[in-house]
Amino acid sequence: MKRLDLLLGERELGPICAALRTSGAPGYSVMRHVTGVGKGGEVQESMEMSGYGANAHVIVFCEAEVLEQIRAALRPLLSYYGGVGFVSDAQPL
């Protein structure tokens, strides 16, 4: 089983979650109000008040095959809007 961590702008959550659903993810969890630093510079909490938005952290636990689907669906979104994704191994409790 795999674990996927996505970090991206909260304003892109809509299309990202839609892509997760259509790719067959059995579930996902979203944490908002995330700040951070990446290639696109710094995202501060005050960007939440401006319409720019802060970041979100999305976690998906799924099988390796589903992950392939997700990868294919997310890549264009992440490369257009920014945001990163990382994969590690996991097992159900």
């Binding site: 702008g9 304003r11 109000h33 696109g40 510079g41 710094e42 501060q44 909490e45 005050s46 960007m47 939440e48 008040m49 401006s50 319409g51 720019y52 938005g53 802060a54 264009p76 490369s79 257009y80 809007y81 920014g82």
Partner: protein, 330 residues
């Protein structure tokens, strides 16, 4: 006269709390107004200013200068991005030039609200329909900004997904702040027309609290804009210069238009402030979605870190002095 205006502005609670917020950042205090509390105040201010504008619109009617003034405001919000783009393009790439241009065509609701409070303290009248102008200036600026990108970037270069017009128009016309402002305007109009009892019961929330809530919110705006200051190093002197010159030039053009429209003094100041201010709410949201190639730290930092404090602190009394010099008193 002018020094009286400067003082009046500098000792007003909203501006003093704005300074206090900036000072907190500059001296390294850990004062913070944690999210989403600032959002509470910004939603409240939009709702209240819209509601008040609507009821004043209902009292004054739609005749006279209303249509002309609003049309002029919308035209300004389309013209300003065009001229700004031409200037900015000399140093920035198309994406960043278009994004900054859109921000300056659009408006800052908080600057407008602070200007209204300034006028109230000076006992200068202004009209409710100016809020409609405020609400209607965000969308055109956004659309012009995106058209600039579309036209200036050859389609094959604009890699990735094409800009989806439906999503874009939704962003331009239905983003939260524009929507709440316009909705509250309509509600204020309807309530004023049909429900005097409702109007009276809204009064403490809408009017009595307003000035204090604005002051509290400006404390946060001071913190936020001072935090932006160190991003300015990356923006460079050209953009900082633009962020100071643009409001001055646009306010001057606004003054000429206001005079041509024979606006009274209060409306003239508000018109100038609309032209002079730059957006850091609706525009960043739209640009992120449609021009992600642009660097947000450029357009947010200039609008929020330079132009906003400039207008609040220096601009308001200066523009008012210009109004008193060039616009005949009521």
């Amino acid at each position: 006269m002018e020094s009286g205006l400067v003082l009046q502005n500098l000792v007003s609670p909203p501006v003093l709390f704005f300074f206090l917020g900036m000072l907190a950042v500059l001296v390294g205090s850990d004062l913070e107004i944690p999210a989403p509390l600032p959002k509470l105040f910004s939603l409240y201010l939009l709702l209240a200013i819209g509601f008040k504008g609507g009821l004043e619109l209902q009292h004054s009617g739609l005749g006279g200068q209303v249509t002309l003034t609003i049309t002029a405001a919308v035209l300004m919000s389309m013209l300003v991005p065009l001229t700004s783009f031409l200037i900015l393009r000399s140093r920035l790439d198309t994406y960043n030039a278009a994004a900054v241009a859109a921000a300056y065509g659009s408006i800052s609701a908080v600057t407008f609200i602070t200007a209204e409070s300034f006028l109230t303290v000076l006992h200068v009248q202004f009209d409710g329909f100016m809020v409609a102008a405020l609400a209607l200036m965000e969308s055109p600026a956004i659309i012009v900004g995106l058209l600039l990108v579309k036209l200036a970037v050859p389609p094959e270069t604009n890699s990735g997904r094409p800009i989806g017009w439906p999503a874009l128009l939704r962003e331009a016309f239905l983003n939260g702040s524009v929507f709440l402002l316009m909705g509250s305007l309509v509600i204020g109009y309807l309530v004023a027309a049909f429900s005097p009892a409702g109007l009276e019961k809204m009064d403490p929330f809408i009017n009595k609290l307003f000035y204090g809530a604005l002051s509290f919110f400006l404390l946060d705006m001071g913190i936020v804009s001072a935090q932006r200051l160190h991003d300015l190093r990356r923006a460079g002197p050209f953009l900082i210069g633009f962020a100071v010159a643009a409001p001055l030039v646009h306010a001057a053009v606004g003054l000429v238009v206001a005079r041509a429209l024979s606006l009274p003094q209060g409306d003239a100041l508000l018109f100038m402030v609309l032209c002079a201010s730059a957006s850091y709410i609706a525009v960043p949201a739209a640009m992120r979605m449609t021009v992600p190639q642009a660097n947000p730290s450029l357009y947010i930092s200039t609008a929020l870190g330079v132009t906003f404090p400039f207008n609040i602190v220096v601009g308001l009394p200066l523009y008012m002095a210009m109004v008193q010099r060039w616009i005949p008193a009521g």
